[in-house]
């Protein structure tokens, strides 16, 4: 299926000067150690409203950890995160909960709640966190499911859904909370190839709607058309960042282009015994 990427308006990018107001998201000098190893080393990035940025890099480079730190799922050891200027660092439990509500996250493993139907998966946070009444929450849930094309699957349980459907439900679930910003952690990496498309379509729709996004992915084609900026991370540090066109240009010899070239090479190569490298 062809993605209707060309319908997406060019992102409000770094060139635009309308940003007199502060960035929507600012991650400031984040450091994180896990299991004795320094995973993130003084990382900073920012996103303006409506911007879409991609994190790429080799595994273990700290990308997922960075997303979780930004979301304050795993608070960073050092550094701070600002959402619309509000610092998250010394927030109390209840404020952190409100902070997290404004950011949505899509996980590689979908992480749907197994004991709830698709509809209830979307509705439960509305009911228990936003304290909406049951009927209203359910109605809202159906709206979101409709947007991702799954209204007929509303009463099914996660175990009865395909991977692509699960991921779409998780997007509906995150969107129901009306977040200001979406973090996507390799949303299609756990999917069978034929299911990737339906999820990418939904993500593209989100982008068209103007959602601010920070995504970790290996889907290069997607990357190129959709983002304002590519951030290349390796060993817990941001090595390069900049315009996709520039960085991905094979001539530029950027670290990014080398990495991406490798990826393309691996996916298109014909393997024969003896030429695995």
């Amino acid at each position: 299926m062809s993605l209707e990427l060309n319908k997406v308006a060019p992102a409000v990018g770094a060139e635009s000067e309308t940003k007199r107001s502060q960035p929507l998201l600012e991650a400031n000098r984040i450091s994180k150690t896990l299991g004795g190893k320094l995973i993130l080393d003084d990382v900073s990035l920012s996103l303006d409203r409506g911007q879409r940025k991609i994190l790429i890099g080799p595994s273990g480079g700290g990308k997922s950890t960075l997303l979780k730190c930004i979301h304050f799922l795993n608070p960073p050891d050092k550094g701070d995160v600002f959402l619309d200027g509000k610092s998250a660092k010394d927030m109390s439990q209840s404020n952190i909960s409100a902070f997290r509500q404004e950011i949505g996250m899509i996980f590689q493993d979908f992480n749907l709640f197994d004991h709830l139907t698709a509809k209830d998966n979307v509705a439960i946070a509305l009911r228990k966190v936003k304290k909406q009444p049951k009927a209203a929450a359910r109605a809202r849930a159906m709206e979101e499911l409709d947007k991702v094309g799954l209204s007929d699957k509303a009463e099914l349980y996660p175990a009865q859904l395909s991977g692509g459907q699960k991921q779409r439900v998780s997007i509906a679930r995150a969107m129901a909370m009306e977040p200001k910003l979406m973090l996507l952690d390799e949303p299609t990496s756990a999917l069978d190839p034929e299911l990737i498309g339906e999820v990418l379509q939904v993500i593209a729709d989100l982008a068209q709607g103007g959602m601010t996004m920070l995504m970790v992915t290996h889907q290069l084609d997607f990357v190129k058309h959709l983002t304002d900026e590519i951030i290349f991370m390796e060993n817990g540090r941001i090595v390069e960042q900049g315009n996709p066109g520039v960085l991905l240009d094979a001539q530029s010899n950027s670290r990014t282009s080398l990495f991406c070239a490798k990826l393309t090479q691996l996916s298109s190569k014909k393997w024969t015994p003896g030429n695995f490298m």
Binding site: L73, Q93, D109, N111, H115, A125, K128, K130, Y157
Partner: protein, 263 residues
């Protein structure tokens, strides 16, 4: 004295009436264990280091000391003075042996149940907890709304096992004179100077109680089953089914995958 002597029949009835107290003992202990064990399990999986340590101390204490020793410890160490104090100041007389037994059995069961629920919680993908937090649930909210409903369902089979163990452990309460089934058996044995017939009766009663409880818990498991969660999709062998001859899972849930026939 023939086994159908009317006084023996009366004795048998009286013993059978002790079932009420035995059931009260078990129900009380199971629930006390639940109330104590569930938070401890949550602490062990999600809690801070110092709290986890305290829980481990508790679990080691109650798992390491034989239940008989625990019974006497609580009886003389806690309940005897407590009862005297209550009578003195409030004039309330509590059933000392019963309460001491329920409490001891309950606290000990709590130690075991905490491990059951801990296993159930750990079997859940940590990601669900993360997703809940990401949506704005507090840690407690995530625990109560997302983790517990699933963990409790997963824990039902192990809980049924704990029930059958506790049922047999309850017989030990006779040393405190609780007048449950075992105490009554012993009193009648002494009155009639007959052992075997009474112990056979005891065996029957306990077997029946075990059967009843397990059946009830299996019903609960079937009723709360989530498609895909727990035993639905597992490979299992026909010989391992409790009901010989039927695959009851298929009858209850037609969508479940059929049992793979052994090759």
């Amino acid at each position: 004295m023939s086994i159908f002597d009317s006084s023996l029949i009366s004795a048998a009835f009286w013993i059978a009436k002790g079932t009420g107290l035995t059931v009260a003992l078990i129900v009380g202990a199971m629930f006390l264990g639940l109330i104590v064990g569930l938070p401890m399990a949550a602490i062990q999986v999600y809690g801070p280091r110092w709290a986890r340590f305290l829980v481990m101390v508790y679990v080691w204490f109650f798992r390491g000391i034989p239940i008989l020793v625990l019974l006497f410890l609580f009886y003389f160490g806690v309940f005897s003075p407590l009862e005297a104090w209550l009578t003195k100041f409030f004039g309330v007389r509590i059933n000392l042996p019963f309460l001491a037994s329920v409490t001891t059995l309950g606290l000990a069961s709590g130690a075991y149940q905490s491990q059951i629920f801990r296993g159930a919680m750990l079997s859940l993908h940590m990601g669900q907890y993360e997703a809940a937090l990401s949506l704005g649930f507090t840690r407690l909210g995530a625990l109560v709304n997302i983790i517990l409903p699933q963990a409790l369902r997963i824990a039902i089979p192990a809980w049924a096992n704990e029930y059958s163990i506790l049922l047999k452990d309850s017989a030990i309460a006779y040393v405190l004179g609780t007048l449950e089934i075992m105490s009554r058996i012993k009193l009648m044995v002494a009155t009639f100077h007959m052992h075997v017939p009474f112990y056979i009766l005891a065996g029957f009663i306990y077997y029946f109680l075990t059967w009843l409880g397990i059946k009830a818990l299996k019903k609960l498991e079937a009723k709360t089953r989530i498609p895909g969660l727990g035993s639905d999709g597992d490979a299992h062998f026909p010989e391992a089914n409790e009901e010989i001859g039927t695959d009851e899972r298929l009858e209850e849930n037609p969508n479940a995958k059929p049992v793979p026939k052994p090759a």
